[in-house]
């Protein structure tokens, strides 16, 4: 008696269903009307008027992701611009901005709405940028507005400060800082671009340290830390130029992979100071972007009549060149940068002052003592050690890898990444050691390698030992080893040999105790003209019936095949 009564849930559901149906009806009829109005014939009839604005606003209000309708609105607004008085236009624009705002409240992630807002503001004579900055926080839109309004980077930096203060797990804020800081502190032209002056760098490092000491499991801070300590891409350079008289071949390696077309606009070869048109190809024959490119030389440019031939390769885009001289009577010549560690492998982490790195290393070690299993901390320690001195810290680095692998924090999905990273660092160290020893023999046996990299650095290596690792393949990049004569790869898990192809000097290949499945995988070896000894003992393919015959057929020139 006299009490409040509430509808039952069935009644509520029924009411909701009716409401939805009603809405759908309205939506569909409005859409149809709009499409009728904007059809090609109606356009001419001048149907694109304010009624279209009204209709589309009904639909967009419910579903702001209807891109076609935003286009209609733009067309109408453009038309009205020509027809209306400034006052009327101002009112129209105000209404449009208000409408956009309400749409954004419905769906703040609607691209169409943001795009329309950008478009509209771009057309205004005096847009109120300050209001836009205060009203919205959407990163892309903010960058647009900040650029349009020429907001000083210092103010934007202060904005990221305030966000980070509230909650430092903010990838976008850290990222925005990495864009703003180089703008605020431009380096002199000669210096490496994108780097920060030391005082700024130290302040940023302190900030980011605060973050990872507070919460070492938050990745955003570690990523920013990596950026702070990293540097811009290395300068484009030709690393090595090699000419072989026997193979009538010229090989070049570059600081980064590139694609060389058939025309001369990427690479220009000058032989004895006159340009020579050649066909460039990659060692593996795939002609995809590669560190190493080579070309055949015509007999004329190698003849022994002249006392010497000069070969110069100019990399037009990279603004770099290299030259070498083949003397009479010599089989080969080369010119290469002495591979100091600085140039080669410190790209990931490097700052001018190693004192900064040193102190970063110390605080990370301090943190590691508190958080012995934190993967980000361990990884950063490893990276810092490599940046400081890869050979000095080699043993310690390996121990940290051990800790990292053992720690519960690393999930199995990342285990392979760590193995590969470790392989990369070990390989780099071996290459450095070889460089210092000035030999062309590289021992990589018993290193637990899971992958090969930096093979483009090994153009001149004649003997390579990869035995007793965990390699699953000899990758295509191995084809860059143009001077390789002996390759030992026993006791791995190798299943494919794509990289053992077109190696002009390869004579002996040891592949005992691998996982080569059937003779077909040996196909690439057929392209190695000088291969005489092949040891396949302990591979599954040895079990196949008639293996000797198959191999003899596949590799007729290899005189000695052990199975």
């Amino acid at each position: 008696h006299g009490r409040l009564k509430v509808k039952t849930s069935e009644e509520q559901a029924e009411a909701k269903r009716l409401e939805r149906e009603q809405k759908l009806k309205l939506y569909q009829s409005a859409t149809q009307t709009v499409f009728r109005k904007v059809g090609p014939s109606e356009r001419q009839a001048g149907e694109l008027d304010e009624s279209v604005l009204e209709l589309t606003s009904q639909i967009l209000g419910a579903n702001p992701d209807f891109a076609t309708l935003w286009n209609c609105r733009r067309e109408v607004l453009q038309r009205l611009e020509a027809q209306k008085s400034p006052e009327e236009l101002a009112a129209l624009v105000k209404a449009e901005l208000g409408f956009l705002e309400s749409c954004l409240r419905v769906n703040p992630k609607s691209y169409g709405t943001w795009h329309h807002r950008c478009w509209l503001l771009g057309r205004l004579p005096e847009p109120n940028w300050t209001r836009e900055l205060e009203l919205f926080h959407c990163w892309d839109y903010r960058r647009f507005v900040a650029a349009q309004a020429a907001v000083p980077p210092a103010e934007e930096l202060a904005f990221t400060d305030s966000l980070i203060t509230r909650n430092f797990s903010n990838y976008s804020s850290w990222h925005y800082r990495s864009c703003l800081l180089p703008q605020l502190h431009p380096q002199p032209d000669s210096g490496p671009q994108g780097r920060l002056p030391e005082d700024v760098l130290l302040k940023e490092l302190e900030l980011v340290q605060n973050a990872f000491f507070t919460d070492p499991n938050d990745q955003s801070a570690w990523f920013y830390h990596r950026w702070l300590l990293g540097r811009a891409d290395p300068q484009d350079a030709l690393r090595c130029l090699h000419v072989s008289r026997d193979e009538a071949c010229l090989t070049v390696s570059f600081s980064r992979p590139l694609l060389v077309g058939s025309r001369t606009d990427t690479l220009l070869l000058m032989v004895d100071e006159s340009p020579l048109a050649v066909e460039w190809r990659t060692p593996d024959g795939r002609n995809q972007p590669s560190h190493v490119w080579l070309c055949d030389l015509p007999a004329a440019s190698l003849n022994d009549q002249l006392p010497q031939h000069t070969f110069r390769v100019i990399w037009t885009a990279g603004n770099a060149q290299k030259e070498c001289v083949l003397l009479k009577g010599r089989q080969e010549c080369w010119c290469r940068d002495s591979a100091t560690d600085e140039q080669l492998f410190r790209c990931d982490l490097s700052v001018e002052k190693s004192t900064v790195l040193q102190s970063e290393l110390e605080s990370c070690k301090e943190l590691q003592e508190l958080e012995p299993e934190n993967k980000w901390c361990l990884l950063t320690i490893i990276l810092l050690m490599r940046a400081l001195d890869p050979l000095l810290y080699e043993k310690e680095t390996l121990q940290y890898f051990q800790t990292l692998k053992a720690s519960r924090a690393v999930d199995p999905m990342r285990a392979a990444y760590l193995d590969d990273l470790r392989s990369k660092f070990l390989l780099e160290n071996s290459v450095l050691k070889m460089e210092y020893a000035e030999v062309r023999v590289l021992h990589l046996g018993h290193k637990d390698l899971t992958m090969l990299c930096h093979l483009e650095q090994l153009l001149l290596v004649t003997h390579l030992d990869l035995s007793h690792n965990r390699l699953q393949a000899l990758p295509p990049a191995l084809a860059a080893l143009r001077c390789l004569e002996v390759l030992q790869a026993n006791d791995n898990a190798i299943e494919s040999l794509d990289g053992v192809t077109n190696l002009p000097r390869l004579q002996e290949l040891f592949l005992c105790n691998n996982r080569l499945p059937q003779p077909a995988v040996l196909q690439p070896l057929a392209s190695c003209p000088k291969l005489v000894l092949l040891n396949l003992q302990g591979n599954p393919l040895c079990q196949a019936a008639g293996i000797s015959e198959q191999l003899a057929e596949l590799l007729p020139s290899v005189s000695s095949i052990l199975t």
């Binding site: 009411a15 509230r166 507070t214 508190l370």
Partner: protein
């Protein structure tokens, strides 16, 4: 109006404190006919908030120790039938004791005149004859009685006495105040000379704002001074109830902005959230890590028993020492985060308290606490409002003389009010302070020591002067009580611009002043002494101070009351704690006892799902719209503000 009050209800609630108000709302929400009475002229009982002049009037009431409304009431003895007996209720409120007031701000009468012109321009003062708070003007349905007879009413009365003349009113209040002073000296002979108010003040350092007593009086409506200083845990029973029942719509809240600690004679900010720790300039990197690590562990300490199992027998502070925390961090965790300064608390209790604190973080802001704007006194009123929306009837200044008990059944059947009118009901809910001495013969009460200060600066200056701070001052000697301080800035709508309202609370061992004065002296300096000491100059200055003891009936069990019928339920007054969990728990427990099958404060239905059943006396859609419209402003509302009690008295 008097005659229109029905004489039959389902539930009669006496007292408008928080637990009674929640219960009233819950009963009304579940369809019971509720009559909610309070003998006072304001809502909330000891949970109330007052304007400055309202507080002075409140003080006057207690200090004059007057028998409230003795004369007007009709004899009730004749109204009891033979088959009945009566349980008298208490006529005097004895829950407040040892009130002492100190004024340090200049009371120069000339100030009065000087400042008047300036102040009259202030719109809020001009509006003094109407009521300021938007909530007050809320218009409720016609059948239900108006709810917001605010605490301002008393001061409004004062004003009208003096024909609304602003200056007159202020002067009257100053005079009244002087009477309190005299009174105080007669009561507490231990009052020393240093505490005497200093009337002349010519030694103002120019830097600080000069705030005079008359300014405080004139801007008194901007104060909302709580009798109890409580906050809401962001994840607590009260906030859950407010949200669940939609009562939260009736109030606004602010997050406490910082947690402070008092260590080695200095006030410092406690980094308690992840953001605080990240931003702290005082902690070293390693301290940041250790604190974060410990706090993170506390969040799910139950999952890591090996981390604390060995320390179950030892105290929390001993346990903290083993956690590689530096002394400052130990202090922060023990006193400011776990807030376990008082008793030697066990490791488990400490971990539980820390976890509770941390779980509250981040829900509404970077500290675990919320504060209702316009003071904590808003909260009981919000529940009253909900009760009224669902048909509850309200009468303030309505005294109840006795409960009528049916001899045969032993159940209470009615009350007799001060008009001698009999109002019957099935259930009766009475707040402890209404019960007579006889009923409470065996009851042992605890006491709460309270101080309310008006100061001119914050205890810890920061970039923004609008800080809301919670500070725990640990006991100096073991066994004593920690003092909880909340400092409110003017944007909380509890004090005027350029002042701070400071609440001190601890459980009493002596009188409030004896318990709290030492802490006050450590943190503040009286307004006039500034000239003397440079060190003292840095402290905020006291403009005005009030000490009082409040009865804490929270621990009293039902069985200690004599001879109460089983259908009379007792609600207790405020406890000493920071949150209001006790009151909410009590209300819910009592509700479940009375109506075991009903849901406790369920969310109100959507307005479109509501219709009224039959009876055309019931409120029309305007009534239902109140459910969703939190703040319905209407010019009629202020007319309605005449209290029902007034009508009934006429």
């Amino acid at each position: 109006m008097a005659n229109s009050l029905p004489t039959e209800f389902d539930v009669v609630v006496i007292g408008t404190g928080l637990p009674e108000s929640i219960l009233a709302a819950a009963c009304s929400r579940s369809g019971q006919r509720v009559l909610h009475l309070d003998s006072r002229s304001y809502y909330g009982g000891n949970w109330a908030s007052f304007s400055f002049s309202g507080l002075l009037s409140w003080l006057k009431e207690y200090q004059q120790n007057s028998d409230i409304g003795e004369e007007g009431s009709t004899a009730w003895q004749d109204l009891i039938y033979e088959t009945e007996e009566a349980i008298t209720l208490c006529r005097k409120d004895e829950t407040i004791q040892h009130t002492e007031v100190f004024c340090y701000a200049s009371q120069d009468v000339n100030d009065n005149i000087e400042e008047t012109d300036v102040l009259q321009k202030s719109p809020s003062w001009v509006a003094s004859s109407t009521l300021i708070k938007p909530l007050d003007s809320a218009c409720l349905s016609e059948e239900t009685h108006p709810l917001y007879v605010s605490s301002y009413e008393m001061s409004a009365k004062d004003t009208t006495k003096n024909n609304g003349e602003v200056t007159d009113a202020a002067e009257t209040l100053v005079k009244e105040y002087c009477r309190y002073k005299t009174y105080k000296h007669t009561v507490s002979d231990g009052a020393k000379d240093e505490t005497k108010p200093i009337l002349e003040d010519n030694s103002d350092p120019p830097k600080r704002n000069r705030i005079t007593y008359s300014q405080i009086v004139k801007e008194g409506r901007k104060f909302n001074i709580d009798l109890v200083s409580k906050l809401l845990y962001s994840q607590g029973l009260l906030i859950d109830l407010l949200i669940k029942s939609n009562v939260s719509h009736y109030a606004e809240f602010k997050n406490v902005t910082r947690i402070l600690a008092f260590r080695e004679g200095k006030v410092e900010q406690v980094p308690c959230s992840r953001a605080d720790i990240f931003n702290s300039k005082d902690l070293t990197m390693v301290e940041k890590r250790m604190l974060m690590k410990f706090l993170t562990f506390c969040l799910d300490y139950e999952q890591h028993p090996d981390e604390y199992q060995a320390f179950v027998q030892s105290s929390f502070s001993e346990y903290l020492k083993t956690k590689k925390l530096t002394p400052n961090l130990q202090h922060f965790v023990l006193h400011s985060i776990a807030m376990m300064s008082d008793s030697p608390c066990t490791t488990i209790d400490g971990l539980k308290a820390t976890k509770n604190f941390l779980q509250c973080l981040g829900r509404f802001g970077n500290t675990p606490f919320l504060l209702p704007l316009y003071g904590q006194g808003e909260i009981p009123q919000c529940f009253c409002r909900m009760c009224a929306v669902f048909g509850g009837i309200y009468c303030l200044r309505h005294k109840v003389q006795c409960l009528v008990v049916d001899k045969e059944s032993g159940r209470c059947k009615a009350i007799i009010d001060h008009f001698g009118r009999r109002i019957s009901a099935k259930y009766f809910i009475v707040e402890d302070s209404y019960l007579s001495e006889e009923t409470c013969l065996n009851v042992q009460y605890k006491q709460i020591s309270r101080a309310v200060l008006i100061t001119d600066q914050s205890v810890l200056k920061a970039e923004s002067d609008q800080q809301i701070s919670v500070l725990i001052v640990p006991p100096v000697e073991p066994g004593a009580c920690a003092v909880r301080i909340t400092e409110l800035c003017s944007s909380t709508m509890t004090c005027m611009k350029d002042t701070y309202l400071v609440h001190l609370t601890c459980s009493s061992s002596k009188t409030a002043r004896e318990d709290l004065e030492s802490v006050v002296k450590k943190l503040f300096t009286p307004y006039a002494e500034t000239e003397i000491d440079k060190e003292e100059l840095k402290k905020p200055r006291l403009l005005w101070a009030l000490y009082f003891n409040m009865r804490d009936s929270s621990g009293v069990s039902r069985s200690s009351y004599n001879g109460l019928p089983s259908n009379v339920y007792v609600c207790t007054g405020p406890d000493c704690g920071l949150g209001s969990e006790h009151a909410v728990k009590q209300a819910e427990t009592l509700f479940r006892e009375i109506f075991p099958s009903e849901e406790f404060c369920p969310p109100p239905p959507n307005p479109e799902d509501i219709f009224f059943d039959g009876d055309d006396k019931q409120p029309e859609p305007s009534g239902t719209s109140n459910i969703v419209m939190a703040k319905l402003e209407s010019s009629e509302g202020s007319k309605n503000l005449e209290s029902p009690g007034k009508h009934l008295q006429n």
